[in-house]
């Protein structure tokens, strides 16, 4: 039991946070923004009265929600080079960096989950407001942008943030592509120095502190929003 060396953590702090945590947080932030934008569009498509808009969106969301994230990560890792080649008209699969590949994966995957939240948000705005918008002569996009979506976002902020905390934890799965995110960095040090116990305990502690602090913030925000309404 006395053979543990927790000094290894201190010695690798720079690498862990400058390389690993930066990657994790950038990926989380960008994928959250991309996912919310794409997810909102998906939600609007699902709520559309045109079958050719709502059916593909429903199919996409249900498909994404019924397969594991790891399988989606593998799918996109191999698919993105082919799609890129198809778009650019290149005869060969193009090279896509680790960051771009995982950003596309998480944006596309989380969009399915964000779209379910935004759908509930849009439906939480009463129909009368939409009709009022149309009565004022606004078109669909104006009604959405000026009347419905601002309220939908505000009602759903706590749930969107909770989903983003889940996204933050999910990004650890890029480990399977040997990418140096926070967990990847910890695991590289762990294997180089043979310090699995120390590094994985430390990684768990850091993930816990970040997620726990964020979830406390969300709770406070929720209480605040609940009072205003």
């Amino acid at each position: 039991m006395g053979a543990f060396d927790f000094g290894v953590i201190e010695r690798s702090l720079g690498y862990l946070f400058r390389e690993g945590m930066t990657f994790t947080l950038t990926l989380t932030g960008l994928a959250a923004v991309g996912g919310i934008i794409f997810g909102t569009l998906l939600a609007m498509m699902r709520l559309s009265s045109h079958k050719w808009l709502s059916l593909p969106a429903t199919g996409y969301v249900n498909l994404m929600r019924s397969i594991p994230l790891l399988l989606v990560i593998f799918w996109f890792y191999f698919l993105v080079p082919y799609i890129g080649a198809w778009i650019l008209g290149s005869p060969r699969p193009i090279q896509v960096g680790a960051f771009a590949s995982s950003l596309i994966t998480f944006t596309m995957f989380e969009a399915a989950y964000y779209s379910e939240i935004m759908r509930a948000g849009i439906q939480s705005v009463s129909r009368g407001q939409v009709w009022a918008g149309y009565a004022l002569g606004l078109d669909y996009w104006q009604t959405m942008a000026k009347v419905v979506l601002p309220q939908a976002f505000r009602n759903m902020i706590p749930i969107l943030l909770t989903q983003t905390i889940i996204l933050f934890q999910d990004t650890s799965l890029v480990y399977v592509l040997s990418i140096t995110d926070f967990l990847g960095a910890a695991s590289k040090i762990a294997q180089r120095d043979g310090r699995l116990v120390e590094m994985y305990l430390f990684a768990a502690l850091v993930y816990f502190l970040v997620s726990f602090a964020l979830s406390l913030l969300v709770k406070r925000l929720q209480a605040k929003i609940a009072i205003i309404r």
Binding site: P68, F74, P91, L196, V197, L201, Y207
Partner: protein, 252 residues
């Protein structure tokens, strides 16, 4: 583009030299379902106990339940599995730790995977159970007290039977989450469905056939589970109370 499709690959002999790739995928599915089933039993039992604890009048029981949920919800599942697989054997006394490490291949990954997934999912189940109990009107518990039931009897005969019926829909999605989450166990060496598809991709280079097959299998499993749970929900519904039986009216 120069991708060579070859759907016949599923009937070629796989890397183990005995089964076809199709059989390999289904063996993977078997491990996925077995892991999910074992973890599900742990999650359901432990989650129910924790959920009940968090609704009792005992302050320390509530605190313990809350702490458990915060702990298991705020660490990524992957890291939790690493803790069970890499860290736990080192922290236990040498003899026990070594015997854990020396388990034969599928079990050395299977046991930590079941434990990790079970305890992780228990936190989520306990949230549902607590919400289900709290969704019941206070009068139900009070009626139980008025009838002279003890606290355990109140839970057993009054609160839990209704609470479980209320939380069937969220429990259905937790079941599906659990099945999907078993894929994370591939990182500690469990060859479940996603890992089987991955090894097929690595050996045959037929990337898209392998992942398409895995995707189709997951979707089919999902549909089966959803329908099974819906059937269960219907068959245990109390006539005239919440649930599908009440919606139709005249079901009884």
């Amino acid at each position: 583009m120069n991708y060579n499709w070859n759907w016949k690959i599923f009937f070629e002999v796989s890397a183990d030299g005995r089964h076809t790739w199709l059989t390999t995928l289904f063996i993977g599915l078997g491990w996925t379902l077995l892991t999910a089933l074992c973890a599900g039993v742990i999650a359901f039992l432990l989650g129910s106990i924790l959920g009940v604890m968090r609704t009792t009048p005992n302050k320390w029981a509530v605190r313990f339940g809350n702490a458990y949920v915060e702990f298991f919800r705020n660490i990524p599942l992957l890291v939790q599995l690493f803790l069970w697989f890499f860290v736990l054997p080192e922290l236990l006394p040498k003899g026990i730790g070594n015997s854990i490490k020396q388990m034969t291949p599928p079990w050395a990954s299977f046991v930590p995977a079941v434990l990790g997934l079970g305890l992780f999912t228990a936190a989520r189940v306990s949230e549902q159970v607590r919400a289900g109990i709290q969704a019941l009107s206070r009068g139900q518990g009070q009626a139980g007290t008025a009838l002279g039931l003890t606290l355990p009897q109140r839970y057993r005969y009054v609160l839990l039977p209704m609470a479980y019926r209320i939380i069937m829909p969220p429990l259905t999605s937790e079941t599906m989450n659990l099945i999907k989450n078993t894929s994370v166990a591939l990182t500690i060496g469990l060859v479940e469905l996603t890992a089987a598809a991955r090894s097929m991709q690595e050996f045959t280079f037929q990337v898209f056939e392998a992942f398409t097959a895995a995707t189709v299998i997951y979707v089919v499993v999902n549909l089966i589970v959803v329908n099974l749970m819906r059937w269960l929900e219907k068959s245990i519904a109390v006539p005239g109370f919440i649930g599908p039986a009440a919606v139709g009216g005249g079901a009884h």
